[in-house]
Each structure stands twice: as C-alpha cells, then as structure tokens.
Amino acid sequence: MPPARIPTGPVTFSPVEKINAELFTLTYGSIVRQLLIDYEDNVESVNVQLEKMGYNIGVRLIDEFLAKSSCSRCNDFRETADVIAKVGLKMFLGVSASVTNWNAEGTECSLVMEDNPMVDFVELPEQYKNLSYCNMLCGVFRGALEMVNMKVESTCVRDMLRGHDAYEFRLRLLEVLQDEYPFKDDE
C-alpha cells in the first residue's frame, strides 16, 4: 500500500488563484469596522459575530481545501494541526504557521504566525483593545474541522495588534465525532 502523501504548502499554493493582498486586507478591515458600527462599539458582540462568520466560511472552505490539496485523512490531531499550519494557512493566506506548545495528551496546541495578511496596516485604537481582530480565523478553524468530525475550540492568545510579538491561536480538540448512521429506528 503506498504511503499517504501529505502535500507541501508551496505545492498547493502555486496553482491556486491569487488576489491582491491589499484588497483582502481592506475587505476584512471594512467588515470589522462595519460590525463595530452595527453593534455600537460592543467589542464582545463583535468578537462573537466575527467568530460566527468565520465558522460559516470554514464549513465551506474545507471542501475546497480537500479538493485542491488532495490531502488524505489525517490519523490524529497532531497531523491535523500540521496540515492546517503548513498546507491550509499557506494555501489560503499565503503564510504558514508553526505548531507548538502541545499539551500532554496531544489535544491542545498553538498555531504561531509571524506574519498575517489580515492585519497589514492595522492599528487598534485604545477603545478597541479587547477586540480579537483575527477572530474570524478562529471561526474558520472551528467550522472547517467540524465538517471533518472534529469539534475544536479556537482562541486568539497572542495578537501583534495588542503588543505581543506574534499571532498565536490556541486549538483545543474537544471531541472526535463519530459518523451517525440511521440504521436502528427502534432505539
């Protein structure tokens, strides 16, 4: 049996259609700005809304990722995190992340990015210091992984917009969902 090939990031990145990075940054920025206006500067609600939007993106994005990267099934959460960091993020954001800070059971890790095109040219003013600007990305992780039967929780722990030295997202595997088969009606 041939070994499963995990494609490399640059290999999947090159044939994918690209857009202007500034268009992306500006579009994302205007979404955040509009949400702040709509929720009247309630930062917590905006954070929740960004995560929800990310979730809706993630549930759709996963099929494109699987189709274009021809990735095979990951055997465990470690492989999943590696694939997200090296292939997924590279394919969609053009930057890859490193996976660090694994907990003892192998169910929690951190994805660390040095560079993030979503936040180019952004500076958070004082009144929005609790805004998780990249929360949409947390939602994308949650949505995408839910479609492949992994329930995860994703939070932003380090954010360069808040003065830290890198972007760190903590991914926590809550449970692996089993496929439901409606065979037994008498249960």
């Binding site: 274009k68 099934r73 496929d179």
Partner: protein, 134 residues
C-alpha cells in the same frame, strides 16, 4: 457519451443533485431520491462489514450494462456517476466535479449547505467537464 448520470448525496444521505447526460431511461424524482438513500446506506454498511480496517466504502460497482463509480469526500459528501462499463478516467472526473462543487456551489453565498443544488454555473461547468471526457 459514456457517462450516464451524476448524483451528489449530502452527508445525511439526501440527494442534493442529480443530472442525466445520456439518453437513458430517466428515474422520476422519488425513485432518484430512494436510489440515493439506498446507495448511501450501502456505502455506509460496506465500510462497517469490511474485514480489514480503514475501509472507506464502495468505490466502484460493475455490472454487465453499466459501472458506478463513487467518491466520498472527507466531509461526507458523496459523488457518484453511472457510466458505460470499462469507461476510463472516471476517478479524475469525480475529483474535478468535487473541485467544481467546492467552487461553484459552496462559494455561492445563497446556497444553503446540505440543500438541493440549484446553481446554473455548476450545471454549465459540469456539461463542459463531461463533454471533455467523451
């Protein structure tokens, strides 16, 4: 054309897309829905009864008059085509259809997940892809 029809089944077993490409006896809607559910169940059972671990379900069914090729994405969506026996290139056609699904269907913001697919662009691209096979 050697491809007879395409069916797309969502992860709960419901038929979300069905299209015939050749002049064959057409199933009515109810029968098509039933056929999709039966295939969904068969596919699920096959991975359960497999004597070896790691079975991902039926990939091909061959009969004297037609073959059925099935591709299941890791998200649970199944794409299967019925075609003439010994047609080649069906696996790569299924992969191409999966890519088109991820583009023209999923990226349509008005398409609701798991619901029947009604995207004109997807239909057009499908016809192009199937014609390219013949």
């Amino acid at each position: 054309m050697s491809i007879f029809s395409l069916y797309i089944v969502n992860k709960s077993g419901g038929l979300i897309f069905q299209k015939d490409f050749a002049d064959i006896a057409r199933l009515n809607t109810n029968d098509a829905l039933m056929q999709a559910s039966i295939w969904h169940s068969l596919h699920a059972i096959s991975s359960q009864i497999s004597p070896l671990n790691g079975c991902t379900g039926i990939e091909m069914l061959e009969t004297s008059t037609f073959s059925l090729h099935c591709f299941q994405a890791l998200t649970g969506t199944k794409f299967f085509v019925t075609c003439a026996p010994r047609t080649t290139g069906v696996e790569s056609l299924l992969r191409t259809i999966y890519e088109m699904y991820s583009d023209y269907v999923l990226k349509n913001p008005f398409y609701e997940m798991e619901m029947p697919i009604r995207c004109a662009a997807f239909d057009l691209q499908l016809v192009v892809a199937i014609k390219g096979m013949a």
